[in-house]
Symmetry: D2
Subunit: 430 residues, 4 copies
Amino acid sequence: MSTDMSGEFAIFNRRESEARSYCRSFPKSFVKATGSELTDSDGRSYIDFLAGCSSLNYGHNDPDMKQALIDHIMADGITHGLDMHSDAKAAFLTAFEDIILKPRGMDYKVMMTGPTGTNAVEAAMKLARKVTGRRNIIAFTNGFHGMTMGALACTGNASKRAGAGPVSLNDVSRMPFEGAFGADIDSLRIVEEMLSNPSSGIDAPAAFIIEPVQGEGGLNAASTEFMQGIARLAREHGALLIVDDIQAGCGRTGTFFSFEEMGIEPDLIPMAKSFSGMGLPFAALLIKPEHDIWGPAEHNGTFRGNTHAFVTARVALEKFWKDDSFQHEIAEKAEMLREALQRIADEIPGASLNGRGMMLGVDVGSGDLAGAICARAFEMGLIIETSGANDEVVKVLAPLTTPKDTFAKGLSILHDAARDISATHKIAAE
Amino acid sequence: MSTDMSGEFAIFNRRESEARSYCRSFPKSFVKATGSELTDSDGRSYIDFLAGCSSLNYGHNDPDMKQALIDHIMADGITHGLDMHSDAKAAFLTAFEDIILKPRGMDYKVMMTGPTGTNAVEAAMKLARKVTGRRNIIAFTNGFHGMTMGALACTGNASKRAGAGPVSLNDVSRMPFEGAFGADIDSLRIVEEMLSNPSSGIDAPAAFIIEPVQGEGGLNAASTEFMQGIARLAREHGALLIVDDIQAGCGRTGTFFSFEEMGIEPDLIPMAKSFSGMGLPFAALLIKPEHDIWGPAEHNGTFRGNTHAFVTARVALEKFWKDDSFQHEIAEKAEMLREALQRIADEIPGASLNGRGMMLGVDVGSGDLAGAICARAFEMGLIIETSGANDEVVKVLAPLTTPKDTFAKGLSILHDAARDISATHKIAAE
Amino acid sequence: MSTDMSGEFAIFNRRESEARSYCRSFPKSFVKATGSELTDSDGRSYIDFLAGCSSLNYGHNDPDMKQALIDHIMADGITHGLDMHSDAKAAFLTAFEDIILKPRGMDYKVMMTGPTGTNAVEAAMKLARKVTGRRNIIAFTNGFHGMTMGALACTGNASKRAGAGPVSLNDVSRMPFEGAFGADIDSLRIVEEMLSNPSSGIDAPAAFIIEPVQGEGGLNAASTEFMQGIARLAREHGALLIVDDIQAGCGRTGTFFSFEEMGIEPDLIPMAKSFSGMGLPFAALLIKPEHDIWGPAEHNGTFRGNTHAFVTARVALEKFWKDDSFQHEIAEKAEMLREALQRIADEIPGASLNGRGMMLGVDVGSGDLAGAICARAFEMGLIIETSGANDEVVKVLAPLTTPKDTFAKGLSILHDAARDISATHKIAAE
Amino acid sequence: MSTDMSGEFAIFNRRESEARSYCRSFPKSFVKATGSELTDSDGRSYIDFLAGCSSLNYGHNDPDMKQALIDHIMADGITHGLDMHSDAKAAFLTAFEDIILKPRGMDYKVMMTGPTGTNAVEAAMKLARKVTGRRNIIAFTNGFHGMTMGALACTGNASKRAGAGPVSLNDVSRMPFEGAFGADIDSLRIVEEMLSNPSSGIDAPAAFIIEPVQGEGGLNAASTEFMQGIARLAREHGALLIVDDIQAGCGRTGTFFSFEEMGIEPDLIPMAKSFSGMGLPFAALLIKPEHDIWGPAEHNGTFRGNTHAFVTARVALEKFWKDDSFQHEIAEKAEMLREALQRIADEIPGASLNGRGMMLGVDVGSGDLAGAICARAFEMGLIIETSGANDEVVKVLAPLTTPKDTFAKGLSILHDAARDISATHKIAAE
């Protein structure tokens, strides 16, 4: 980004912290957003394949959510109510119970945590430690769980960890995610042997924390066998299973929860990102009732239970999850996505696909290459980002509601961008 | 709260976590809120002396903020934009620069952290450690800074700390807040001697973190001398000064920042609660430019920079802080508050006032007594909470915009409640 | 010390680590030692007022201990027996029970830890945490307990703590020793208020660890009232009381245990230094029987229970502690010491005495001055060291068995050295 | 062990801590020891295949060491000299330089740490962290490094770790030792991939700490390739290599250092156990000169440099290491040992040999079986212990000086014991 102190961006250069990130990849100022498109201050529109990092699974400014929110505001509905009872909260909880929990045979308490994923993860970690009386949490290579001290300890990324300065990120043991050492080494066996060896030095775990698909870690998708194996190990070792469905949940992989067809029952499920439906800050921790041993206010916070988000989240559930039509729509687009990305991958030596459902990307083998493709795509009107330990995966996180023609157009831009850059890279390499 | 599984509250009992708190003190369901009043599902209205724990300094659903937000939503303005540039963010930053920073001669970068106080505190702690290369943070008795692992380590409250289970809350040294050991022991001298003794065992600090008025710790208000002393010690020992103005800021004590008449220049200022104006989740860390050494995305998060909050926060600044009329209004009400609370205190043996400006309470000497007064007040139509290590302070956090007659009415209810309960307690004691 | 790579000291310069310390203050090579005198390689003899930092309370090479040890070796007695039973161990334990424990009405188990003070302290810390299920240990300003990670966390000295590099020394809270903030601030009251305030941020303690006289921290001697106060607070808060008698024990203050006339019953007592009698490596942790919940080998170590030390330790007990004659002898010399040091202090502006019994020093107000006095004394044939946070105390730790004329001679040298240096300093200051 | 409070052992039951361990396996009281034999209070003699856990590599009470020590004591040589220069220390250092370092082309500084292995390990950990400015230390499964907080964090054994109570053992990452997951998974590759993946969550290491043969962890012997691989990874990642040669060093594997034929150059080498020659408490840390950045006294301790041990250690070097005859003798006995143990293993289904040189054992697959064999052997006059995560290895650690006929006799007893117990077990299983 320009460090120019005049012009449209001067205020950001002058007043916003150096910690800012996405604005550096997409150096425009955005003024409007509908569905799968963003418009910048010059009136140019962009197809959005980033979707607020999966926070906008239902697209920008869904008209029904908008209307419900406007109605709520105009009626002087509660905006901020701490964690007091409200009609909006009751309506949300009722919809969540009826539309999500009951049909899936799930019985969970909902803890309104601070409205960010990291806060829900921190609450899960604290509760798992409280329930078990143990300290150690097993986290996985390439896992990403947040930036506050507890969640950061579970996050693998070295540059993120560096943000803690000289302070230790303790009480977490690191294990290999499925495939971490290649296809010939069975990660599950390693985890199992480390836990069964009483001299391994791995303390008895309070919990395992795992993302079924690693959103920031390169779209690595765990198999059903791996997730079941981890669930079994957790059970055998008296640990809780925390499934972090913050990025992969809310339909992203094809079902509301990313793990719901895997036959596992997580003890704790942190939810955030698309949980509000419309991109409002909102997070919750789903807790198996037997683990809900919190004392009143033992984990509190001012913005627990964003009331505006209750309104939009309820509409999202009612609009998209009352029957299975939305799931079918996702499945169709996921197939379309896989085919398109495979075509791109086929043209890049060594490239392969990573991910599952509408959470899919192309591992192009190098962060430079992936970054160049995304930068080129942005020039051509597509917002898209990378993922992975070395940013080597071009990651598609389009709104699940993206109309097929828009989706096709976005994928076509991506293909063109990949082709352009590959050609350049090939020439540069020669 | 009733554990009844039928009726209006059944859904909360069935589905919400045991961690919930305020709904237990105020067992009604709220449906509407304007200015300083909340309305429950039975149509009864309550005067609000809690104000979302100081998140609603400008009252509920301020009409100008409401209108601006509705306009933004109807125009399909950005709802969720990660940390990309937007017109709404530029407008907020410009207003903040023009209305708040410049007139006060302050030069700070604004870091959009996750939209909760604890997240802003965690960012401050990480940055202070990164800047200094040190680990130790000096926190104060009765301090409250949040629930995530880093911030919780700075929080003094034992029951909150218990939420972490068996995990240590490390890298924080605890020092006495002003008056912690009574009037005859000078806390500042203790801090000074602990830091100047090379064998005290207190490691060189990365930062001091302090609230000018301790919102949860009993409304203890630091004097200018104490704050200047801490600022001087921080400077002398190469530590950063973090002034947590989350609860005391945004006009609560009479000025925008609670410390602005104290002649100190904090290095880092976490802001949250009323920062959005309307009670939307929003937080930021103000950073002296020389300390803004973050790498891009080194502390990231999905909901940094809630765009709806940019809109309402800008309106709040423009409406209330362009001149000093609002400050005068606060000063008048603060005087009114002090007089009313003094009259209450005069009737309770041993009671005294704690706090500053519109952040004032009556220390009635016992948590049971304070709790009973608040419960009685709620029956009489007033929402009010306690504060303090033993919940012994009846704390008034009315919206700063409360009309004088409403304010008087609320104070009158409080007086009646205190009188009722004191009488009962006196009889019980006899 | 010379960095000369030739000559007598070349081998030390070439091969010994920079961590070495005392050889820098006393740059001679010693070849012989008897009673209170050391002889260097030039045949010059020195009076020893350091006594191995109180490890040689009975002087160098006591003839009875020597003979018993030689007899043991010549008879092929066990040298190294791990923690197996041996006649030498039985004899030591029996003597310790009969001569020390029974007459004092004390009932303790003896844990043979690794033969260093720090190891006994680590064992105490581990056991206190195991017994209470708590983590936090309260240590005091200017406390010194050892160099391994656990004990170092309890040690206040900043330069010692720096040896841990960037690693945190956690799970210890620091409280002021008696008099830490001057005579007008009551340290005990501060400790009490920090522990009774549930929002102080001081977690419930597993233990207090305290030295009745702080050997390295400046010879600060706790009063009976202070020690009783700490013992009471430990009891009230469910914490164990660890009295580190490593430097002050074995007669140094006048009685076998430094606290035995204080009416307190420590839960755990780490012993080392003079415990072997003859300066051999030996340490033990005394444990109240109800706290001896160790599993077999749960804290092990190769050199637990140095058999040679069992032999000499037994002789020391039998020779010096069977009746109260040795205590009377110590009391007389302590009086002689106090008078002599007072005369020295009287000649140095602002100087005062610190300590108790034969553990007494002159606080001369400056590390430079104290160091210069000790260096001058060494030139004149006296080995003596400093103590204190700023090395400002000239510390006398003569063998308790020092003949009175030798003692007088050493004190006279010290007086001369102090006078010489004071004169120089006075001239320099003018 | 009997809990009988009368009889010979009553004093131990009454006064020694429950932490005691070896006396439970060998419930006799020992009174005399020479060479490879121990004699109990009934006059019965035992062949010693435990040798103080490899602290008595030169046997009990070697006559030359004895004589030198007696001469030293009779001449009033220094017993305790803190870390002052002495003739005994100079002689030891000179011998160590001439006999050990120079012939091997090794250049190391010698740090006299507290006289236990754990203290030398703690010093190594502190120094590695200080040198690198990093916190994380890579330790291996089944590693054993000591009982103080720092070293315990590197120790894998769960029951030992439990001794720390509820405190975290932090700043250590655990990696698989060679063969930890069986022959088909390459541990080195796992370590390499964990360190090269920037999102593995393994922080940049200050050091690797590894035992070439794991003395307590089951006699797992690392190959030259593995050790070289770890040395290379340490170098590539800017970490120090700590080779803990406490149990495997001093000739145990056939050469003075266990790694000296592996072509690696450790940065730090903790030595203890047999380093004094005669079983006296003594430890040192060997430091590559460029890492000797300690400040004076930065890691101190009262018993650093046990002067009696200097005397015996010098004799041990001069007597056994001046030429290669002792190495040849060890090699012959090691071959004899391997053959004998192989014969035993051949008779136990599934049994196999673990270890190297005179540090060899039979993995019999079960801790119960191994324990029963050792107990039977003791009845038959042989002192021998188990090793391994489940105590499943019968471990031979005979003095290296054991005469061949005594060695043969001991091995024969072991064979008989194994046969007896196997027969019983086979019958029990049928």
